[in-house]
């Protein structure tokens, strides 16, 4: 076993990028400010100096153009990593992502596949207001032809990228902005991680807390507090939003008979609604209480700190909903 090191999520992402660039010369990174500026969240800082302009490419401010360029490069045998600054801006490239990346394998009868990886920041909590703070990964999870992953731990932040690059089809990686400074211990030597399965981050018997991404830490904190009151929870980190790992969710509910979904995105037509429906379809007779949700308020994410806090799931809210569920 290699020794552990203490790093943060941002550094883990950077190590993942370095690892990918070192291991496969077809891999290159492109996006707004990824080179000279070091990335708008400083994730790619230092990579330009190490790998040069050919592989760390600054692009013009045109999401549609550079995501399309990435798709073209992937079609031509490269393994591009495209960074989109935030999920809100990715909407400018939605045509490329949905109409090209997600559909070309289907429309070409399997002749053309698009091994592109698109990374983007998602979520609220940094007072960046309504045009930089939404959680739209659930929308992308709606689209067949895409794989959607959400690293919520240091291991996944470092390891998911390389695994995603091995996928012959497009993979979207959603990195939650509030996690960038989260620190922790991690093995110094990178370990391979899968992008197929949900992970049970905490074992319990009374209820299943189902979450992902930026809400995982809050949910784990809530579970720890609930445990002090004798409420023992499974905490499921979905990791992959498309495909969803139904088996892990259903197995947990078969044990606990109660489910609470924590998702920073909106409820209406969202991922939490999809999970709820799957539980109804596959585990109705296991349920001892209605499925419950703690989700983002159905408003554009506010700028003001107290309003922003109130608009997204917080530890106290998760605890209150959980208590109500097990009462």
């Amino acid at each position: 076993m290699s020794a552990n090191v203490r790093i943060n999520y941002r550094e883990a992402l950077r190590q993942g990028l370095r690892e990918a660039l070192l291991r496969d010369e077809r891999v290159f990174l492109m996006g707004e400010d990824v080179g000279r500026y070091g990335g708008s969240y400083a994730v790619s800082k230092g990579l330009l100096e190490e790998f040069g302009e050919e592989r760390i490419r600054d692009t013009p401010l045109s999401e549609s153009a550079f995501v399309g360029a990435g798709i073209g490069a992937a079609l031509n045998g490269m393994r591009p990593i495209v960074e989109v600054m935030t999920v809100n801006f990715s909407l400018l490239a939605l045509d490329q992502i949905m109409n090209n990346a997600a559909t070309l394998r289907h429309m070409s009868g399997g002749q053309l596949n698009v091994p592109v990886v698109i990374r983007m920041t998602t979520g609220a909590g940094r007072q960046l207001a309504a045009q930089h703070s939404h959680s739209l990964e659930g929308w992308y999870a709606h689209i067949p032809g895409l794989r959607i992953v959400t690293p919520a731990t240091l291991e996944d932040a470092r390891g998911m990228l390389f695994t995603a690059l091995q996928d012959p089809d497009p993979v979207l990686i959603f990195e939650h902005a509030s996690l960038l400074n989260v620190e922790g211990e991690i093995a110094a030597e990178p370990q391979p991680v899968d992008i197929d399965y949900a992970a049970v981050r905490r074992q319990g018997t009374d209820l299943s807390l189902i979450t992902y991404g930026g809400s995982l830490m809050k949910t784990l904190q809530a579970a720890a507090k609930l445990a002090e009151d004798g409420v023992s929870s499974d905490v499921i980190d979905l990791r992959s939003l498309r495909p969803l790992d139904d088996a892990t969710i259903i197995a947990s509910i078969a044990k606990t008979h109660r489910a609470l979904i924590v998702d920073e995105a909106w409820k209406s037509g969202g991922l939490s609604a999809e999970i709820t429906a799957r539980i109804m379809e596959q585990a109705f007779y296991e349920l001892d209480a209605p499925v419950s949700r703690v989700c983002g308020a159905e408003v554009p994410v506010p700028y003001a700190k107290h309003l922003e806090d109130a608009a997204i799931p917080q530890v106290d809210g998760i605890i209150a909903a959980a208590r109500k569920l097990v009462k």
């Binding site: 008979h257 007779y285 296991e286 349920l287 001892d288 209480a289 209605p290 109500k324 569920l325 009462k327």
Partner: protein
């Protein structure tokens, strides 16, 4: 109108848990008919009714703990209209665990319209009871009626935990522990209150057994009679000579019994014992006595005794011969005043005249209440028992 009450199924019984009705309102009942089942410390007992009539109103409901003497049903006797009685009757008390009924039930409730009271079933709930899918499934697995489950979970719906609590509550009480307590109470009282005296006799049963063997050889196996049955008959007949051994000591006075209802001590699998009555044993033929004994043993061991059998044995007979015991020194079961113990029959040298012959011998013992009888009378009983066993044909 006759009020059918919780019977006393033994001197130590204070209450019983009502289990089920075998009858419905409007049904004719005959004297001696089993109409319900009550759970006691000694097991489930089928309770007979001693008044003929038409069942008007069932008051007791399953699961209810009912004190001895409390009315469980109303019966219309000759010439009465059962529906009128049912209409006047109070509605059933709330099921166990329910909220106490406000006000005094009997008088106020009697003004309720007939429609509400003519069946024992509660009115249909006005609102659908919410049950979680998992709780519904669990209730099915456990055989729990959801109507008996009280919701406590989130959203006021019945949860799995509620079902499991209800299931635990409907589990039969720990009969073994209850029975041990009952035996302890009765035997402590016996040794505390009853001045026992003990007598023992060796009885030559050679001719009785030889007679019985000859009788049994002539009939199919199903009609064969055990020596134990013959002993019971002999005890019952011998009691004619000494009525002060057969009856009850209650309220400082002895009340001799009208019949020879022998309580037959039966040890139960899993521990404990009961001594239900065989009625009028002195008047039964050996064949009927044997059939009655078989039936009683079977029902005692499967917990299906009747109330009359539990409540009225007039003397107890304990036979431990099968277990190899020579002599039984019994403890009287109050309020009875005597217990006859019978040991095993063994072949021993027996002096008759000037010769010694091998003969089958049993030790018969008597434990008796010295407040009622003296050793002289007790001795007379044992002598009479011996005499009767030498005349087996008289016991047929």
């Amino acid at each position: 109108m006759y009020e059918f009450k919780m019977p006393s199924l033994g001197a130590d019984m204070e209450d019983g848990t009502f289990t089920e009705w075998h009858v419905e309102p409007g049904q004719n009942v005959a004297r001696g008919e089993v109409i319900c089942v009550v759970e006691t410390q000694k097991g489930a007992v089928e309770v007979e009714i001693w008044e003929a009539g038409v069942l008007a109103k069932l008051i007791a409901s399953p699961g209810q703990k009912i004190p001895v003497g409390q009315v469980m049903a109303l019966v219309a006797t000759a010439g009465e209209d059962w529906k009128a009685i049912a209409a006047r009757a109070p509605s059933p008390p709330p099921p166990p665990g329910g909220e106490p009924r406000a006000g005094t039930p009997a008088r106020t409730a009697s003004q309720q319209p007939a429609a509400v009271t003519d069946s024992g079933a509660p009115p249909p709930p006005s609102e659908r009871v919410k049950v979680s899918p998992a709780a519904r499934r669990r209730a099915e697995e456990l055989g729990i009626d959801l109507a008996s489950v009280k919701p406590s979970g989130a959203h006021c719906a019945i949860s799995m935990a509620d079902v499991e609590i209800a299931a635990a509550a409907t589990k039969p009480p720990d009969r073994q522990a209850g029975m041990r307590d009952a035996i302890a109470a009765a035997m402590s009282r016996s040794k505390r209150e009853i001045p026992h005296y003990y007598l023992a006799s060796e009885i030559n049963v050679e001719s009785a057994i030889a007679w019985l063997e000859k009788r049994n050889a002539a009939v199919p196996i199903s009609e064969r009679v055990l020596f134990a049955a013959m002993q019971l008959k002999a005890v019952a007949c011998a009691l004619r000579e000494t009525p002060e051994l057969n009856g009850f000591y209650q309220g400082g006075a002895f009340r001799p019994a009208a019949g020879m209802h022998l309580g037959v001590a039966v040890s139960l699998r899993g521990g404990g014992l009961v001594a239900p009555a065989l009625h009028d044993v002195d008047k039964l033929t050996l064949a009927d006595l044997m059939a009655g004994l078989k039936d009683l043993l079977r029902r005692a061991r499967s917990g299906q005794l009747r109330s009359s059998e539990m409540s009225d044995p007039t003397i107890t007979v304990t036979n431990l011969g099968d277990l190899g015991v020579d002599t039984v020194f019994g403890v009287i079961y109050p309020p009875q005043v005597a217990l006859v113990g019978i040991g095993r029959s063994t072949v021993k040298p027996w002096v008759t005249g000037a010769t010694i012959v091998p003969a089958r011998i049993v030790h018969a013992t008597l434990s008796a209440d010295h407040r009622i009888s003296d050793g002289m009378r007790g001795a007379r009983f044992l002598v009479e028992l011996d005499r009767l066993l030498q005349l087996p044909e008289s016991l047929s």
